[in-house]
Amino acid sequence: SRKMTVGARVVVSARTYADFTPQASFDIKKCDVHKLEEGPPLQAVLTREEGLQYYRTMQTIRRMELKADQLYKQKIIRGFCHLYDGQEACAVGIEAGINLSDHLITAYRAHGYTLTRGGTVREIMAELTGRRGGIAKGKGGSMHMYTKHFYGGNGIVGAQVPLGAGVALACKYLGKNELCVCLYGDGAANQGQIFETYNMASLWKLPCIFICENNKYGMGTSVERAAASTDYYKRGDFIPGLRVDGMDVLCVREATKLAAEHCRSGKGPILMELQTYRYHGHSMSDPGISYRTRDEIQEVRSKSDPISMLKDRMLSNNMASVEELKEIDVEVRKEIEDAAQFATTDPEPPLDDLCNHIFYNDPPMEVRGTNPWTKLKSIS
């Protein structure tokens, strides 16, 4: 079984009642495949331990994003804020299929990945509120968060895809059997640089898992209005692909495992399309209901919510108790509250940090201020 870390802590369930089912096998949706002999297996085994971990992490992401929504409306978070609620199964399922020593890069809807890649809720929220305790000391904001082997958080649509292939090139070059998961959305999927990247990744057999998180809308434009072909898993053409139920954390995990195996065996890149959904609009400045109906959103919430799906599975197979899950909810809520408290009270970065971090490993230098008499200091 795989150990998941939430933040810096390893989460292991403290309670193992004798009468809980230790593991169970679940049917998962069949994946459509493209240029692949076989998709992932139609059943996935989930242990109680894993289930509790996935539940906790998804719930943490969910609550964190909802708290960010609140703080944004209170104007404590400003600028861009792209929320991930609804898509939790993608981030958690992917991480369950790879190792922390692998690499990952995504676009701007990145808070969930910052968490699964080792960031803490505290430092994520403090980055959103622009404080010195933020994961990027308040200098990056929502779209520019980084951790070890996690390259952001990227603001320019599509630009992260060549970057991810570059990381994969480094993996291959350095020979450490690591791979890079390279994410982009259905909107970005039409970007030319992505096709340039497919070409080179394939030519050079880079260990790169391209993942299109298809949440059906690129900002306010539905996939039908943006793409001549919405079979995103086929758009890699010569790259094998699979289309995955992105609302089911087990489906995502099994597909990711298959994809990782493909890469690590030296076969080159592979492409996964995760069919998922975002409850919020594109960003906090988009109510998200001018281009889709409230009914549609409600339907997904009631029928396909990733957290509910996992919860139902575990409860109906006696893998956890209602009280136990409620307790996790309480713990998560507390973690979020504490983090929000920190994020709202931590001071902003000091002004003398303004010009730092221009260059790495360089002696201190002078930076021109707003006028010729103002000379500011910059250190690495």
Binding site: P162, G166, N199, L203, M365
Partner: protein, 359 residues
């Protein structure tokens, strides 16, 4: 300070002295080395020194480089370290930046910097800004290099100078070598630098030979990024220039010396960070300034230098307004007579100097 001898090359065909590389024993005394070979040797040495360094770009491997700058490297280092890319700048520049983020030290060649425009988002938004945005978590040790500026007869889309565009952006270092010594020392420094460096070469300079002393030939010879060099001492006027225009300034200075006007010629070497101090010190001696560049005038290198001089201590030492000699403010035409008149010529520099000195 050792002075470099250079041939008068403006308007005449450059004599190409290609040296065979037999340097791996005891280096001989001063030798003649072209800019092309200096770049080649610098890359060769840095590839040997650090396994993480690799070169990618169009035609860099099996073709030996579009301008033969990477000649012999693929044969020596193979596919892993010298990588031919498809004609997809945005893609391969992004790949290079990603590789740098993950611990390698790529040299990304643009066949000319005109094509870097296709990839400029990766240079600026992915490379230059990342160390700052991540507050020091993520560095990007990459070199973007290739020929920049006007060539000969390649017309408007292939002749733009990008010094001002890249020089504008914090997070980048921008370097513009002139001589073979510059090329060697600055490229080695750029490759060893842990930050994104834009390395602006010049196609017309590739074939020009320069004398290279024993010291410069040594494997650890580095030129610090951010320091200008005084190529010719003078007392009457300061000429500031970069890349090929340094040659024209020296030629103009030689002509004017016969009339008793002694020009101090400063070779910028680095565009960003700009060595304003070197320029100011010179102006405090000569009291006059003319900048010379191949690029367009508006918002250009000369514009920045003049603004800094206005704002700094050297302003009070100017006896007449500082002026810029630049390329003509037009897209580059094709016909030779038009092209020749689109870039500064020696006579334009001499004219501007005399106007500034009021002689």
């Amino acid at each position: 300070m050792a002075s470099l001898r250079c041939f008068l090359r403006s308007g005449k065909k450059a004599v190409t002295a290609v040296l065979r590389r037999e340097f791996h024993g005891t280096p001989p005394a001063a030798v003649q080395v072209t800019v092309r070979d200096a770049l080649n040797q610098a890359m060769d040495e840095e590839l040997e020194r650090d396994e993480r360094v690799f070169l990618l770009g169009e035609e860099v491997a099996q073709y030996d480089g579009a301008y033969k700058v990477s000649r012999g490297l693929w044969k020596k280092y193979g596919d892993k370290r010298i990588i031919d890319t498809p004609i997809t700048e945005m893609g391969f520049a992004g790949i290079a930046v990603g590789a740098a983020m993950a611990g390698l030290r790529p040299i990304c060649e643009f066949m000319t910097f005109n094509f870097s425009m296709q990839a400029i988002d990766q240079v600026i938004n992915s490379a230059a800004k990342t160390y700052y945005m991540s507050a020091g978590l993520q560095s990007v040790p990459i070199v973007f290099r290739g020929p920049n500026g006007a060539s000969a007869g390649v017309a408007a889309q292939h002749s733009q100078c990008f010094a001002a565009w890249y020089g504008h952006c914090p997070g980048l270092k921008v370097v513009s070598p002139w001589s073979a010594e510059d090329a060697r020392g600055l490229l080695k420094s750029a490759i060893r630098d842990d930050n994104p460096v834009v390395f602006l070469e010049n196609e017309l300079m590739y074939g020009v030979p320069f004398e290279m002393s024993e010291e410069v030939q040594s494997k650890d010879f580095l030129i610090p990024i951010g320091k200008a060099k005084i190529e010719r001492q003078g007392t009457h006027i300061t000429l500031v220039s970069h890349s090929r225009m340094v040659s024209l300034c020296l030629d103009a200075a030689a002509v004017l010396a016969k009339e008793g006007i002694e020009c101090e010629v400063i070779n910028m070497r680095t565009i960003r960070p700009l060595d304003a101090e070197a320029i100011e010190t010179s102006i405090m001696k000569t009291n006059h300034l003319v900048t010379v560049e191949g690029g367009w005038p508006q918002f250009g290198i000369g514009a920045e230098i003049l603004a800094r001089i206005m704002e700094g201590p050297a302003f009070n030492y100017l006896d007449s307004p500082a002026v810029r000699v630049t390329g003509v403010d037009i897209p580059m035409p094709y016909a030779k007579i038009l092209e020749d008149n689109s870039v500064p010529q020696i006579k334009d520099i001499i004219f501007s100097i005399k106007k500034t000195l009021n002689v």
